[in-house]
């Protein structure tokens, strides 16, 4: 069992937990992920590592409930435990590897974070800060209440730009508008961009950075089962090649990703997951005899 030391809401529907997992904490690097399984009947849920403390042996995860299993996660309190917690999985971010540090130091780096994807950006920016690199960060959120980790970022990044879709906080508009403004109107130049957030945001972010020939890395979070390369569920098209996000990624060259195909694959279990979530929320009463799913027969 993997004990939950801290559990709480970051904002809106976004939850944060600190979990005791010494083997993971000892070896993980920014960009990698873990797989979490709450109990015997739960799914294996891949979550990008959002912070780690090697001495304390803890990992921080941030999530938004999207299916039956993650919905159950939200009920857990400090003192509870996950049945399974495995990692670190995947390749570390290429920016956050000691061997690449000299190269990284020469670059002007921009992070573009959106929604719950803001959380996994944090350990990368923090790692760079600890290694003497100040990266600029754009955080995008729907509205003021959903902006997360602002204070933590402020301590470790270069310039911090916050934008909300509704203009209720910081700048107004999508992250892509901020990229355009920074580069065309505010005289900023960047050599490297990392974008983590909803698939649709990463897609448009990549379309924008492509205009400026700004190399952009994205972190894919497709459907997975084992997370070790065994099932192949997480395959994504990168250029002409089929890659497994769990072992080859999760970070890839965003300009080579086929986002439309990836988004369609993401929707594969939508009905099944949706049904499981409904069943959890409404018990058996969700079978209202709609005649569509056959569940009332």
């Amino acid at each position: 069992m993997y004990k939950i030391l801290k559990a709480g809401k970051l904002a809106g529907n976004i939850y944060e937990m600190v979990v005791e997992a010494p083997r993971v904490a000892k070896h993980c690097l920014p960009g990698q992920f873990v797989i979490v399984k709450m109990d015997e009947v739960g799914e294996r849920i891949p979550l990008t590592i959002c912070d780690y403390d090697r001495e304390a042996g803890t990992i921080t995860i941030v999530f938004q409930p999207i299916g039956a299993s993650t919905e159950k996660f939200t009920k857990l309190q400090a003192g509870d435990a996950f049945r399974d917690f495995v990692g670190p999985l995947g390749q570390p971010s290429e920016l956050c590897v000691e061997e690449n540090l000299e190269e990284t130091k020469k670059k002007k780096i921009l992070f573009v974070a959106g929604g719950v994807g803001t959380a996994p950006v944090y350990p990368q920016v923090k790692w760079l800060h600890e290694h003497g690199v100040a990266a600029d960060v754009i955080i995008g959120a729907k509205t003021k209440e959903l902006v997360i980790l602002e204070d933590k970022f402020a301590k470790v990044c270069g310039n911090l730009y916050i934008t909300t879709d509704d203009g209720s906080y910081g700048r107004s508009g999508m992250v892509t508008k901020v990229i355009d403004d920074l580069i065309t109107n505010e005289g900023k130049t960047y050599d490297h961009c990392v974008s983590i957030g909803p698939m649709i945001m990463m897609k448009f972010c990549c379309l924008t950075t492509k205009k400026y020939n700004l190399p952009t890395i994205v972190s894919m979070n497709p459907i997975m089962v084992d997370g070790t390369g065994m099932c192949g569920a997480c395959r994504v098209m990168v250029g002409d090649e089929v890659k497994f996000a769990c072992v080859d990624g999760p970070e890839f060259d965003g300009h080579a990703i086929d986002f439309d195909a990836a988004m369609k694959r993401q929707a594969m279990y939508k009905t099944e997951e949706g049904r499981a979530l409904l069943k959890l929320r409404e018990g058996d009463t969700h079978h209202g005899g709609c005649g569509n799913c056959g569940g009332d027969k």
Binding site: R23, V41, M230, V242, K264, Y269
Partner: protein
Amino acid sequence: MGDVLKKVPVREQEPKVRATNFDEVCLGYNKEEAMEEASRCINCKNAKCVTGCPVNINIPGFIAQVKEGNFEEAYKVISESSALPAICGRVCPQESQCEGKCIRGIKGESISIGKLERFVADWARENGIKPAAPTEKNGKKVAVIGSGPSGLTCAGDLAKLGYDVTIFEALHEPGGVLVYGIPEFRLPKLDVVAKEVENVKALGVKIETNVIIGRSITIDELMDEEGFEAVFIGSGAGLPMFMGIPGETAKGVFSANEYLTRNNLMKAFRDDYDTPIVRGKKVAVVGGGNVAMDAARTALRLGAEVHIVYRRSEAELPARVEEVHHAKEEGIIFDLLTNPKEILVDENDAVKGMTCIRMELGEPDASGRRRPVEIPGSEFTLDVDTVIMSLGTSPNPLISSTTIGLDTNKRKCIIAEEETGKTSKDGVYAGGDAVTGAATVILAMGAGKTAAKGIHEFLSNKQ
């Protein structure tokens, strides 16, 4: 007394009934049936069956005990050579191993060795007979990577010799392919696999799940920091292969590994588990091995019409004869001498069909099997909404790429000496699919056994 030339028939669930459930298909022998079948054995002095067994079980020896009704003795005879008899009795390809060599098989049907082994193992379990833990420990620590057939066997053998053994398993349940790959209806998880794992633990073996060697910790760290004096790698062949045809990343295309893992390890077929699975209406399974049969029969039980699409003919199907027979009885449609060319998708990128081409057998290829060649102009569309690719697997490079000085061949398999399991790295041994590429449970067990001997010799000489 029945016909001595024929096997005592084994009871099975009716095909029509079992096609709708996940309970075990074969019900096994009872005492009387087992003793009758055992009495057909002529107890050859120079028993050929033993040479056909990768772990050389004293087959006439245990059968002689069954004949007399001494089932506990029979279990002891088997246990000298095999740590997982309830599993092997169910999943070994007996027709090409022990039973293939049986003298009885020349004029009539061979002895039903697999079913007898299964009976003995099940009897022992039901009667609470467990292998005895060693009384003396030698205090030397050995790490075993992977809790599949090779790892469990190697760990069990080393524990019997007094070693302090820890198995590291990447998934959340021990058992490897026995748990994620082979379905419930062929190998019950709670009653058989979990019990065999318990038996290995009863020997003093510790199992740590959720540890991915190469990521959570490396082999070098296990040896340098955690005090393991030797390591056995039994990490299997986990990476699925795809064909590389158009449409393969579409929704509704799965590797057999994913499909089976969702259903077997993650229990998608049970309502009380959260795991989703796509229940296709018409499913094509591409491939002809045991894994293909398992995927096909799983899809059938989940309510689909299922086609096996295989490019060679029935004679070349690599699956166990019993699996093919069972699949046919249950209503799986075999589209033999047929090969996929393209997976057709709709506007949402979901599978709407598969273009296939008819094949014929040409000259024998390197494998000795006649090579299938396309018949020009014979393309047709198979009406399916789900495609499961079961084309084989290759070893995961995670361990070899993170271990200094561990050599692999061009197929990414770890290079290990056949007689000892020794790899290019001092103190590190390997066996099973990680070395051979995808093979069988019993061959992996054989390799685990060999490596246990190799490790014992290495650690005994190292002072």
